[in-house]
């Protein structure tokens, strides 16, 4: 591989900016002290510490399993809504309107409501994640269903394809890219939102441990857990969604 390729891979200009930011960060941290802005070095040490103690897995798994349940339920319900939108125009209208309402509801509403309904339990972050990701995934899916090429369905009718064959060979393949796009955005949102909900009432998870670190004045750990979140985000994007998109695009 040539030098130019490596430069491209490493995003050299980005790296240069990063170096400048790190230098500025270090200077600012000296000026204002570790409580306000911990030095970059202390974050690296902190990260190594939670990896060695295994704490990173405990809290990451706690957060991710709540996301899995809430986001998973949102996907299941989205699929049902997509199916309904495909089956009837009236259902599509209802679903679109409901999603518009859900879409304009603040995260905080769901957090407060779920605390009232479920108390201090796992179900608060799960429910919040569910309510926030549902409109994102479902509206993408409904849009995908609406975008199915009617001319292809007409072709299916001419050649006497059964409803099942039309659904599996025409509707599903043309809707899948919309579902994956919705899931990609939805997952990012799930991670951001569930962590906020974890501040209240649970004793594990990234959101809990961040808030706990703040209370015990361990500011560097707040940054460490933020880094963990970023890593999870980047990893799922690169490993899961990019792979899915590549598979979906193989005929393009």
């Amino acid at each position: 591989m040539s030098a130019r390729d490596w430069a491209g891979r490493l995003h050299l200009p980005t790296l240069a900016v990063l170096v400048v930011v790190l230098v500025g960060w270090t200077l600012l941290s000296r000026r204002y002290g570790a409580y306000v802005l911990p030095a970059p070095g202390s974050i690296v040490t902190g990260f190594a510490e939670i990896v060695r103690s295994g704490e990173i897995w405990t809290h990451a798994v706690a957060s991710l399993s709540r996301i899995a349940v809430g986001f998973g339920l949102a996907i299941v319900l989205s699929l049902l809504m997509g199916l309904g939108a495909f089956a009837s125009r009236t259902a599509r209208g209802i679903v679109t309107d409901l999603l518009a309402i859900l879409n304009s509801t603040s995260v905080f509403v769901w957090i407060v409501v779920s605390l009232i309904w479920f108390g201090l339990s796992n179900w608060a972050p799960i429910f919040t994640t569910f309510m926030i990701t549902l409109p994102v995934v479902a509206s993408n899916l409904v849009e995908g269903v609406a975008a199915v090429d009617r001319r292809l369905l007409e072709m299916g009718d001419v050649y006497r394809l059964s409803e099942y064959e039309k659904f599996t060979s025409i509707v599903i393949p043309s809707t899948l890219p919309y579902l994956v796009a919705g899931m990609k955005v939805g997952f990012g949102l799930a991670l951001k939102v569930s962590v906020v909900a974890e501040i209240f009432g649970v004793t594990s998870g990234i959101g809990y441990v961040m808030n706990y670190s703040r209370e015990i004045l361990a500011t560097q750990m707040v940054f460490v857990w933020a880094l963990v979140m970023i890593l999870i985000m980047v990893a799922t994007d690169k490993l899961l969604f990019d792979t899915l998109n590549r598979r979906l695009a193989r005929w393009r």
Partner: protein
């Protein structure tokens, strides 16, 4: 000989009558080209014959059976649309094999027949390609292979080469003529190109301006010199276009 296709007084209204009343019969193995001015309902007529769209009046008989526009039909009619209408996520082979499922063939038989008709359409060696990876002409060949693979009683083609460049168009016209000669299918072919119709059809039907009826039915069996036939048809189509404009536009005095 019993008629393969009988069109009896077919008409269609879209707010205004578009197809007035059209009747004709087609014998097995005929290659009929439908011509006419733009907007006279050529495509609509073809869609009615294929049972894709219901008629406002009249009846279509295929092998003596009435054609009813219903999704759950039992007809074997192959249609080549203006666009290829291939599924982009399936290889050319799978695109053809898909429409063989309702015929009750098992997977090996479907693949064998798909390969056979792709070869007939000149696509040997491209079976595993996705539609997006081949040219527009090849996609239209695949659509023709798909229509032929169900071994249709009737093959309908709706300006199938409209999107192709002049060179490809000529090649595809020869190909369709060859395929017709090899398979002896009954074909109804809509085109706006008189040269195309004269080059490939055995029977030419010229429709009139809206509301359309049959202006002229010509046997293109070589007894008429082609150049003259093209000229005559061009004259006819211009007359119809003028008639259309005369009815479409308000009278001169009414315009301010």
């Amino acid at each position: 000989m019993a008629l393969k296709l009988e069109v009896r007084g077919i008409g269609k209204d879209f707010l205004i009558p578009v197809v007035g009343s059209v009747s004709f019969g087609v014998e097995p193995g005929e290659f009929v080209c439908l011509l006419g001015p733009n907007g006279c309902g050529k495509t609509t007529l073809l869609r009615i014959v294929g049972g894709i769209e219901p008629a406002s009046r009249g009846q279509v008989l295929l092998d003596g059976q009435p054609v009813i526009a219903d999704r759950r039909h039992q007809r074997h009619v192959g249609v080549v649309f203006q666009e290829d209408r291939l599924l982009p996520w399936l290889s050319l082979r799978d695109n053809v094999a898909l429409v063989l499922k309702p015929l009750g063939l098992d997977a090996p038989a479907r693949h064998a027949r798909a390969a056979q008709y792709l070869r007939l359409a000149g696509l040997q060696g491209f079976e595993d390609y996705y539609p997006g990876r081949v040219s527009g002409g090849m996609r239209q060949r695949a659509a023709i292979a798909r229509a032929l693979a169900i071994e249709p009683d009737l093959l309908l083609m709706d300006e199938p080469f409209g999107a192709l460049d002049a060179q490809n168009r000529r090649i595809m016209q020869q190909e369709v003529r060859r395929i017709w000669a090899e398979t002896r299918r009954t074909i109804l072919f809509v085109t706006h190109s008189i040269e195309e119709a004269v080059a490939i059809g055995t029977t030419l039907i010229m429709l009139s301006a809206r509301p359309s009826r049959i202006r002229e039915l010509i046997r293109n069996d070589g007894s008429q010199e082609r150049g003259k036939l093209v000229d005559d048809l061009n004259t006819m189509i211009m007359e119809e276009v003028q008639r259309q404009q005369a009815t479409d536009l308000p009278p001169q005095g009414a315009r301010s």
